[in-house]
């Protein structure tokens, strides 16, 4: 059983296809995505960045309560969405708004929770995007269950399950990977290793050579990829999805990237990292790198920018609409049929409101 174990180990360095200078990296031995795929990715990256920055601004304007930005990590999220088929599922975290948008979720709906409106703003079945999970790593076993159910029915569904470096420390990460491996569930686990869990640096999160080395302990192949190189991500994730779909079981991919902004706007990143450290990542920016590589005519890029602006404007407008919470909503979705207890409580609240209305 152990003879072929080493193929489960990741490469010593992350797979990179496009260098910082935009030139292809020689000797990776990996398939290079087509120009069309890269153009699609660039458009998505530009939109993603625009959304990140727009959301950031909307927090300052008080239209969003909080926003965990993925500025700098957009390549991971764009690639994660792009490699999936329509019948596949995406399991995002709170930082993966733009991945959800990449699957087709309306950005206004995607930010419903962070706006302070209802917990999940989209229909998870419409684009097969699970509600984003705040309790860390808890969504990973859900992805396994969704994938396993599909497999039992003979459907070709793959689940792409996202998770941060910090999330890998939770018991649920361990249990999800182990279940997936034993069940041979078609799940791709993508760790966005952005070096921090809020203030806690990777070195206090793990002593592993790298997070992808966790795969072998479950019998899952682990791979490492440059998380700021969308070409490498498209190839590595695309192949992982294909293997999962072909019945080869779950796959683990660690993307090395960096969170360029604070954890959320409520966080003060200067308490735990230097601006020099942040600046060093500027040159690895996923968008600049791809733009350099594709070297498109300026008009093509402006078109993409304009499209992104339109999405941002749509977001701005959507978030400018006020929320008018109705008391009944509190009780409506707890159970399929409300208990008599909830009916009583709902009546009590309605009565309060009626009296307030009468008094006011």
């Amino acid at each position: 059983m152990t003879g072929d174990a080493h193929h489960l180990l990741p490469s010593g360095t992350p797979v990179t296809l496009i260098g910082i200078d935009g030139h292809p990296v020689a000797g990776s031995g990996r398939v290079f995505p087509s120009d069309a795929e890269l153009r699609q990715a660039l458009a998505a990256l530009i939109t993603a960045r625009r959304l990140n920055d727009q959301a950031h601004a909307l927090v300052r304007q008080g239209r969003l309560a909080v926003y965990p930005s993925s500025h700098g990590q957009e390549a991971c999220q764009v690639a994660a969405a792009q490699v999936l088929d329509d019948g596949d599922w995406l399991f995002p975290t709170y930082r993966d708004t733009v991945a959800a948008v990449g699957r087709g979720v309306d950005p206004v709906e995607a930010l419903t929770l962070l706006k302070g409106d209802w917990h999940c703003g989209w229909d998870p079945y419409e684009h097969r995007v699970a509600p984003h999970a705040t309790p860390l790593a808890t969504q990973l076993p859900h992805a396994v269950g969704v994938a396993h159910a599909a497999r039992l029915r003979g459907e070709p569904t793959v689940a792409m399950a996202l998770c941060g470096d910090g999330g890998t420390s939770e018991g649920d990460f361990h249990e999800a990977l182990n279940f997936a491996a034993v069940l041979r569930a078609p799940v791709v686990f993508l760790i966005q290793n952005n070096e921090y869990a809020i203030s806690v640096p990777l070195a206090r999160q793990t002593a592993a050579p790298s997070l992808a080395y966790k795969g072998i302990g479950y019998g899952i192949p682990g791979e490492r990829v440059d998380g700021n190189d969308v070409a490498a991500l498209l190839t590595v994730l695309g192949e992982a999805v294909a293997r999962a779909r072909a019945g080869e079981g779950p796959q683990l991919v660690e993307a090395h990237t960096y969170r360029m902004q604070a954890h959320t706007n409520a966080d003060d990143a200067t308490r735990y990292r230097t601006s020099a450290e942040v600046d060093a990542w500027l040159e690895r920016d996923p968008i600049t790198r791809l733009e350099r590589h594709l070297n498109l005519p300026a008009s093509d890029v402006s078109e993409m920018r304009e499209a992104a602006d339109r999405v941002a404007a749509h977001l701005r407008d959507g978030l400018n609409r006020d929320i008018s919470p109705t008391p009944a909503q509190l009780f409506e979705y707890v159970y399929a049929t409300p208990t008599s207890q909830l009916r009583e409580q709902q009546a009590q609240l309605a009565d309060e409101h009626a009296r307030e209305g009468a008094a006011g």
Partner: protein
């Protein structure tokens, strides 16, 4: 034939088989539920009958079991998972509280989780620590879950069928000391969730019990009867939803009540029963409602459990305390 003489364990097994036969989306999994048939044999024969895809053993990880069930329920299945013993469901607590209970509400009803978490619970079988917890309060306090517990083989069958068919997640608590009780069971589906039942009529005081404490209450009523006191016994069956109507009608009819439950009393389902019945029936009460519960201690070792468990004498002491001015 729709009637069979079955133990509670057999009735539960039968409910699983019948549900799996009728609905191919019902899947059963957990620790040792496959070839072994579960440590209490509730899943006996299911793998043989329905195959490994319908009833299977999992790795030993309760959060994983519940978490995977959530995913399967999101994707068209009706998982019925087994936690091997009460205290071994605690690793799954986050999944249960933060996801199982909330998914429907979080998603405006778009994602429902038709799943059942079966938990053998409570004491009375001489089990060692962590095998005898009465954990119902943790679940009952968590909005979004249904929490039911049968006291008879017949109710076990009916409640489990209904729970599996329910669009909402159900924590299904099986009183392990009653697994081997036997009775004629009607193999038909029924509407029991949310409905308490008067198990014995009586006029002097009402005993309110559920799960493992129902037989204790009935035995106490039997003894009281011989001593000339007529005790009514209500079996909740369903903790959430709670059947205020039946319980309050019963208490109003007698004007006195004792709640009997194994769990530690503090901040428990018993507290809730006392609180809500008192709120609703205050002026019908001749005396404050008494509680006979487990003490507020960790479940004791086997040789000590008889000291801890609510028994007939303790129930009758409490009844005696109900301020019988005329006695």
């Amino acid at each position: 034939m729709t009637h069979e003489k079955l133990t509670m364990a057999q009735a539960l097994n039968r409910a699983l088989r019948d549900a799996m036969t009728e609905d191919s989306s019902v899947v059963v999994f957990g620790e040792d539920v496959g070839p072994l048939g579960g440590v209490f044999r509730v899943t006996d024969g299911l793998t043989a009958e329905f195959g490994e895809n319908r009833c299977f053993d999992t790795p030993l990880a309760e959060a994983g079991i519940v978490g995977v069930a959530v995913g399967m329920a999101m994707n068209g299945m009706r998982p019925v998972v087994e936690m091997q013993f009460d205290a071994f469901a605690y690793p799954a607590f986050e999944q249960i509280v933060s996801h199982v209970a909330k998914m429907r509400n979080r998603t405006l009803g778009r994602v429902t989780l038709p799943m059942v978490i079966r938990i053998p619970y409570a004491g009375g079988i001489g089990g060692v620590e962590h095998h005898c917890d009465s954990s119902e309060a943790y679940y009952a306090h968590t909005p979004g879950l249904h929490v039911v517990t049968p006291a008879t083989p017949g109710d076990a069958y009916g409640l489990l069928r209904e729970s599996i068919a329910s669009p909402d997640p159900v924590v299904f608590l099986e009183p392990k000391k009653l697994y081997w009780t036997k009775e004629e069971v009607s193999l038909t589906t029924a509407s029991l969730v949310g409905r308490a039942v008067v198990r014995r009529e009586g006029t002097d005081a009402t005993l309110i019990a559920y799960g493992p404490s129902v037989p204790v209450a009935l035995a106490a009523a039997e003894v009281a009867d011989r001593e000339g006191r007529s005790l009514q016994v209500v079996d909740l069956r369903s903790i959430v939803p709670f059947d205020d109507e039946t319980v309050c009608a019963a208490v109003r009819s007698t004007g006195r009540a004792v709640v009997v439950a194994e769990a530690a009393g503090f901040a428990s389902v018993s507290s809730e029963i006392v609180a809500r019945v008192t709120e609703r029936c205050f002026h019908s009460l001749a005396a404050p409602i008494r509680r006979v519960t487990g003490f507020d201690i960790p479940y004791p070792p086997p040789k000590y459990e008889h000291l801890h468990l609510p028994g007939v004498d303790r129930v009758l002491d409490a009844v005696d305390d109900l301020q019988w001015e005329d006695s």
